[in-house]
């Protein structure tokens, strides 16, 4: 459950002592309260996330471990993590480098996105997916709310909170799928026992269609996809180069092993940004 009433900047500053300062409230993520502030030891501007007390602690610890292991421009980087006492409850906090830019969902709200931006976004997030998979991690929640476009033009995958390391015991209930409705791959929606990066590729495919369309391409899309229906990318806009429509359509194939590998995605998108 969210903090009720919402956490104030003063409460957090007081709980954390001098570690962070200059608190400003940011839009709340799915799993905690978020603040923009300065990390005093490094003087970095960070996004500070404080997890709700009933969040599964192991999931949060996993996010921390994951971010410590992997460093890349396309993945959010960890600055500090620890525990604090808030309202007499032990909470976990994570501070990640603050990304100067816009969350992709906000950009999409403004309408269709230019082809080069979409191509670069697809390229970068595919790279992030590959880096996670190299550690046998599936993100499981790729959607425009979890992607930042930096001012320099790089797409960054944020909020790894539900990424699951496949060699650890499952944290989900049997038959219960984590993720965001409308972006789940067919196999993720079925809550199969093991997912591969191809599930993230599917979610990226829908995200890219949304970028091209300026809105989520289909109402109740998930039901359509599970029923075998697909939306062809070339029906979204007239100006999309064929290699891009082809690769996005391939990303949305029903069977995961028929979806493209990361190299295929990179090769298809690279010429367009």
């Amino acid at each position: 459950m969210p903090f009720d009433p919402p956490l104030s900047c003063e409460e957090v500053e007081s709980a954390l002592g001098n570690l962070f300062e200059g608190m400003a409230i940011l839009p709340c993520g799915g799993q905690g309260a978020v603040f923009k502030c300065t990390h005093q030891p490094s003087k970095e501007t960070v996004a500070l996330k404080i997890y709700f007390t009933n969040q599964v602690q192991q999931r949060t610890q996993r996010e921390v471990d994951l971010m410590k292991r992997i460093e890349d421009d396309t993945l959010v980087s960890l600055v500090e993590s620890g525990e604090i006492l808030v309202r007499e409850e032990e909470c976990i906090f994570i501070a990640t480098k603050f990304i100067q830019g816009n969350v992709l969902s906000k950009v999409v709200e403004q309408g269709e996105i230019d082809i080069p931006v979409v191509a670069k976004c697809g390229y970068d997030i595919a790279q992030a997916i590959q880096l996670l998979w190299d550690e046998r991690i599936v993100h499981r929640d790729i959607n425009p709310k979890n992607i930042m476009l930096t001012n320099e033009g790089t797409a960054v995958l944020i909020d790894l909170g539900i990424a699951r390391h496949i060699d650890l015991e499952t944290l989900t209930m049997p038959g219960c799928a984590w993720g965001t409705h409308g972006y789940l791959s067919p196999e993720q929606a079925k809550a199969v026992k093991q997912l591969s990066f191809k599930s993230d590729i599917f979610a990226l495919g829908i995200t890219l269609q949304e970028c091209l369309a300026g809105s989520h391409p289909v109402n109740h899309r998930q039901e359509l996809l599970l029923g075998g229906g697909t939306i062809k990318t070339n029906t979204i806009r007239d100006d999309i180069p064929e290699p891009i429509t082809k690769i996005i359509d391939a990303m949305l194939l029903f069977r995961p092993y028929e979806r493209p590998r990361i190299d295929d995605i990179h090769n298809a998108l690279r010429p367009y940004f």
């Binding site: 196999e187 093991q194 591969s196 069977r255 092993y257 028929e258």
Partner: protein, 436 residues
């Protein structure tokens, strides 16, 4: 990639008769001890094994050393098989056979029968196994894997072995091709429609996502009695597995222990199949690995590729020939020629000494079978996918027709197998419809 036939170096390393055209071979530890293997030089003695794989056979870890003494006694000599400390072979003290007998006598004490579970122990096992494959100059590493027997598994143990195997293989020789072993029991395949079998989806997705160079598929046929895999779901899953892995980007798919179904798998994407003539070379069935009292002797049988099956030679072939069955020209091999000529001249099978129904009189039957395997493989080697599908449909439709006709004869021996053709044809037709 061209289609190829590999000889299973198990019962014997030698290809029967005067057969040419074997592309390579797969060495199986169940047939000889490690101490014997490392003293052989296949490049000199068996040129057809110049291109070779060594199947680590770790999928046999669950064998019972009391009932499978012979096989366990060979396997336990390989350093990647978990075992209690034992006296290594010393040529100054014992001859190879005497030492092997000693191991067999004590195998129930030596055999551990469980895979290591800790990451370091798995790494060490893999390092030993792959280094031996490297030392033997194998063409690719076959990464060992346990046998999958549970339909509801999350496949995590197999994936742990695969992930670790891929890491270790890079350290030993990054340039060498790696094949992921997929050893799967028909227990997991028979009860579910192949297109709804989530385990098959899971295996294809997870293995292809790890991007090994290829896969080495071993089908354990617990429920099959004869020489041919009959169950439509088992065959359907084999086809799906092969095709899915190929579609998922794997470069080379090798199918072993599937008999003529291995050839069938070539039609949906496999690159290499391997089978011998003896039942133990055609299929893996754990209960067949058990020791038996006495000596099992084989009888000859005539393989007809058009029939996708064999004829028992005591009376069946004579009877069916009288009923109008005629071997086609494309089934004449050096070994079968005397038999076919005799039949055409009105003689019976028993008039041809090399084919007479007698114990162990199998040389001509083996040679003919392998010749057919090689020539049929060569025939389809450069076919496109569409041509392979078309070939398969025609081949199996004809085989089904022949089986239906032949089965009208009464009193056929079970070795004249007539039940699988219809199953294979229907599965293949369904497969082509689904992927075509």
């Amino acid at each position: 990639m061209a289609k190829e036939f590999f000889w299973p170096a198990s019962v014997t390393w030698t290809v029967p008769g005067r057969v040419d055209g074997v592309s390579g071979g797969i060495i199986y530890p169940t047939r000889l001890g490690y101490h014997t293997l490392i003293r052989r030089n296949p490049d000199k003695t068996h040129p057809h094994l110049k291109r070779r794989f060594l199947d680590p056979q770790l999928y046999l870890i669950g064998l019972d050393p009391y009932t499978c003494r012979t096989k366990c006694a060979y396997l336990v000599t390989y350093p990647w098989f978990p075992r209690k400390p034992f006296t290594p072979f010393d040529s100054n003290k014992l001859r190879q056979n005497d030492w092997q007998r000693m191991v067999k006598k004590d195998v129930h004490n030596l055999w551990v029968g469980q895979l290591p579970k800790k990451k370091k122990a798995i790494e060490q096992t893999l390092r030993i196994c792959l280094q031996i494959q490297e030392n033997l100059n194998c063409e690719s590493y076959i990464l060992p894997s346990p046998l999958t027997v549970d339909q509801t598994t999350d496949y995590s143990t197999e994936l742990q072995w695969l992930d670790t195997g891929l890491e270790v293989s890079k350290k030993i020789n990054e340039a060498k091709q790696t094949l992921a072993t997929i050893a799967i029991s028909d227990n997991t395949l028979r009860l579910i429609n192949p297109w709804e079998n989530e385990l098959i989806d899971l295996i294809i997705d997870q293995v292809s996502s790890r991007e090994p160079d290829g896969a080495y598929i071993v089908l354990e046929q617990s429920h099959e009695q004869g020489y041919y895999c009959t169950h439509h779901n088992t065959i359907g899953c084999l086809l799906r597995l092969v095709h899915g892995l190929k579609t998922g980007g794997l470069k080379q798919i090798v199918v072993a222990y599937a008999g003529t179904a291995g050839f069938l798998s070539l039609l949906v994407g496999a690159d290499i199949w391997s089978t011998g003539w003896y039942k133990s070379e055609r299929k893996l069935k754990l209960s067949d690995v058990e020791d038996v009292s006495g000596i099992r002797l084989a009888y000859p049988a005539y393989y007809s590729h058009n029939f996708a099956s064999e004829f028992h030679l005591n009376s069946d072939l004579d009877k069916i020939y009288q009923d109008g069955f005629r071997p086609q020209d494309d089934e004449i091999t050096t070994a079968s020629k005397p038999l076919i000529e005799a039949l055409l001249s009105g003689h019976k099978v028993s008039a041809v000494p090399e084919w007479k129904h007698e114990r162990s009189n199998v040389a001509a039957a083996r040679e003919h079978f392998v010749s057919m395997a090689i020539s049929r493989t060569a025939e389809i080697s450069d076919f496109s996918s569409d041509e392979l599908f078309s070939y398969g449909l025609n081949w199996l439709k004809n085989a089904k027709f022949l089986a239906e006709e032949i089965s009208k004869s009464e009193g056929l021996h079970e070795r004249t197998a007539v039940n699988h053709q219809s199953s294979w044809y229907n599965v293949f037709k369904e497969f082509v419809k689904m992927v075509g």
